[in-house]
């Protein structure tokens, strides 16, 4: 039975919006030309490929359903599990289901902690027990090295094969159509990703590639699940931020006078409250609200999802001021321009001037701000979740991963893999977003300073 979580709906709404905007831009030189400039940059193309992979994972994780429970007897109505799963969960079922007892290092065959184990001769001793799943297929642990290498090589070979196929197909479909795009960079980025993903996939079949966490969950699975959270925070927030920022900014700059005074007062007031504190206060209140209305949400996933959505709304409410200020300045400048004066001389209505003259001429600022904000929001989520005012503790996110792993800092030897996984996945995402944002800014307007 399909389930549509609120954030799923918004994510797909965004996908639709982006797609239709792309369609709209295609025929408009002033929008299409900057994008063409963006995609002439190697870093932009390479980071776009990386981002696309993240987005793919995120989207797969945004199609939820409730699996049917095995029917107790034929003819009875099908019962559905209370747990919502996503397509990604389906694909990663082995990762999700193979729990260990507690921590285990990446690719390990034994647990990280000593336990009482029963030796073959019946005595007990404290030793590192074998894992339930990691390396369980190995008959002799001595084969571990060989098995890992073989799997990695097989993964590489598969990745290379897939890469070649994609390249051949892409040459036909893409390269001829857009010859100016540096496809080499795209191929290199894709190659790098596949070279990592191939062996990881092969190894994940028999091991915990990135180890397991305290409750024995696979870290790789957690990292992949965190991607959706990051993306939702980074994009759904804009649904709140965008209308507020655009309307307030443009209205203040165009109408001036008391409208401007009121809007400036509003955003100075909001801006005056230190961001983290305002968000913290909001989230605390949200939490009280959700706790007191627990009966509204049939599943924990829906409740956690509501909190995620609330967090996005709060981040949007507190961060529209930057966009509004930029747009106000730009609208002030534009409204003095001669083509706006000409429109006044034709008696064109305010609404039409805003829609036809002002809005299209600030579109580049909106796009640049959105792209630049993305990485900031992803980073903010980690900090907020760490502080305890981010996503629901039951939602997997980079912030909750770091928060959980931090507790094990003092352990000797250190449990480093959760942190490392969060670091690598987050760094790649934010770096790609930052590089892409740079290219977008250069492509749309080299002079806009955000």
């Amino acid at each position: 039975m399909p389930v549509v979580l609120a954030t799923d709906f918004l994510v797909w709404l965004l996908v639709l919006a982006v797609a239709s905007f792309a369609w709209y831009s295609r025929r408009r030189a002033h929008l299409a030309a900057p994008w063409a400039r963006v995609f002439r940059s190697r870093t932009a193309v390479a980071s776009a490929v990386v981002l696309a992979c993240y987005i793919l994972v995120g989207l797969l994780d945004s199609l939820h359903y409730r699996p049917a429970l095995p029917a107790r007897d034929a003819g009875a109505p099908v019962a559905y599990s209370v747990e919502a799963r996503s397509l990604l969960d389906l694909g990663l079922a082995p990762l999700r289901e193979r729990f260990e007892k507690t921590y285990s290092a990446p690719l390990a065959t034994r647990l990280f902690q000593r336990e009482q184990v029963e030796l073959p001769d019946g005595r007990t001793a404290r030793d590192f027990p074998r894992l339930r799943h990691g390396g369980a297929h190995l008959e002799a642990e001595a084969d571990w090295g060989k098995d890992v290498v073989l799997r990695a090589l097989a993964g590489l070979a598969a990745a290379f094969a897939l890469w070649s196929v994609v390249l051949i197909c892409a040459r036909r479909a893409l390269v001829r159509r857009w010859p100016n795009v540096p496809w080499g960079a795209a191929a290199a980025a894709l190659g790098a990703i596949l070279a990592l993903a191939g062996p990881a996939a092969m190894l994940a079949d028999g091991f915990h590639v990135l180890g397991t966490n305290q409750v024995g969950q696979d870290v790789l699975y957690q990292a992949l699940k965190s991607i959706r959270t990051s993306l939702v925070i980074g994009t759904v927030t804009t649904l709140v931020l965008l209308p507020l920022g655009i309307m307030a900014g443009i209205a203040a700059g165009y109408f001036r006078g008391w409208v401007d005074d009121v809007i400036q007062y509003l955003y100075t007031t909001l801006n005056s409250i230190p961001g983290v504190l305002l968000i913290a206060a909001f989230v605390l209140m949200l939490q009280v609200f959700l706790d007191n209305h627990g009966d509204w949400f049939p599943t924990t996933a829906q409740r956690a999802d509501m909190r995620l959505l609330g967090l996005c709304a709060i981040l949007g409410l507190t961060s529209w001021t930057g966009l509004a200020r930029l747009l106000r300045g730009e609208a002030l400048k534009l409204s003095e321009l001669e083509y706006i004066q000409a429109a006044h001389a034709f008696g064109v209505s305010h609404a039409r001037i805003l829609a036809r003259h002002i809005l299209p001429n600030v579109a580049h600022i909106v796009i640049i701000t959105l792209v630049l904000d993305f990485s900031g929001l992803v980073l903010a989520e980690a900090v907020l979740s760490y502080v305890g005012v981010g996503v629901d503790p039951s939602t997997t996110s980079f912030g909750t991963m770091i928060n959980a792993a931090r507790l094990e800092m003092a352990r000797e030897p250190m449990v480093w893999w959760s942190l490392a996984a969060a670091f690598v996945f987050m760094f790649a995402l934010v770096l790609a977003a930052n590089l892409f944002a740079d290219a977008v800014r250069d492509g749309f307007d080299p002079r806009v300073r955000v």
Partner: protein, 325 residues
Amino acid sequence: MLGYILRRTLYAIPILVGINLLTFALFFLVNTPDDMARLQLGVKRVTPEAIAKWKAERGYDRPLLWNAPAAGTKKFTDTIFFDKSVKLFALDFGRAEDNRDIFNEIRTRMGPSLALAVPVFLVGLMVNITFALGMAFFRATYLDLWGVVLCVAMMSISSLFYIIGGQYLISKLWHLVPISGYEGGVDAAKFLVLPVLIGVIGAFGSSTRFYRTLFLEEMGKDYVRTARAKGLAESVVMFRHVLKNALIPILTGVVVVIPTLFLGSLITESFFGIPGLGSYTIDAIQAQDFAVVRSMVFIGSVLYIVGLLLTDISYTLVDPRVRLA
């Protein structure tokens, strides 16, 4: 100029009132005190009596805005709004969940916060400007290119990792300085070295890159060409002409944060166990101590508004166009 500053000061009043109303609405209208009590008490102990007691202890048992049965001015003063929001203006913050006076707590915690935030601010500013100036000076060379790459890479790392990584490397691996803790006086230095260093590194990427664009923008202006046409050496052009102009947006941009240095830095303080306002806030958030969070929101806003005021003043000081116009 004096009139200008006075006007900006007066403008701060409606903003403060706005913040006060906003926080009041947030803390008392979105959720009722009953909701808060239920959350604080936990599911097991929720009885109407317990809630009433919890509210009475904290003064939440009065009407929100208007106390009709009370006499005289008490109609207004004997309300949650007056007690919890209006009194903030008099720096009367009330008591925390642990029954300590919030104002006293804030006063004692300000010291450690400043001891950390001020060095981070000053060292960071100098380091960032120096590097940005260097990159602008060697613009369009490999030095500049790799500098930008480094900045973008550093921007892409969450501040949490700087703290965790720094703590691990320096304290655990190299045993140079204590991992966490704090002592007053001169001893503070050894506890502060690491957090200061991490604070500086954490902000390096984005600030340096931003300052670099400011410098480059300034270097594209006409007066730079004039200065070159005079035969001035590139270093003179850079230091006498470009730096002086670029420092105006840089300095006036950072002035706004100076007052908020009092608040300390949330994450760093709590990681390193420095008993400042940052860790105080974090603890309050995690313990859901609404009184403390409300107080910090108010103080933070006041400090920010002071910062805005200082920004206006600093403009009139450093920019002759504003000073003399």
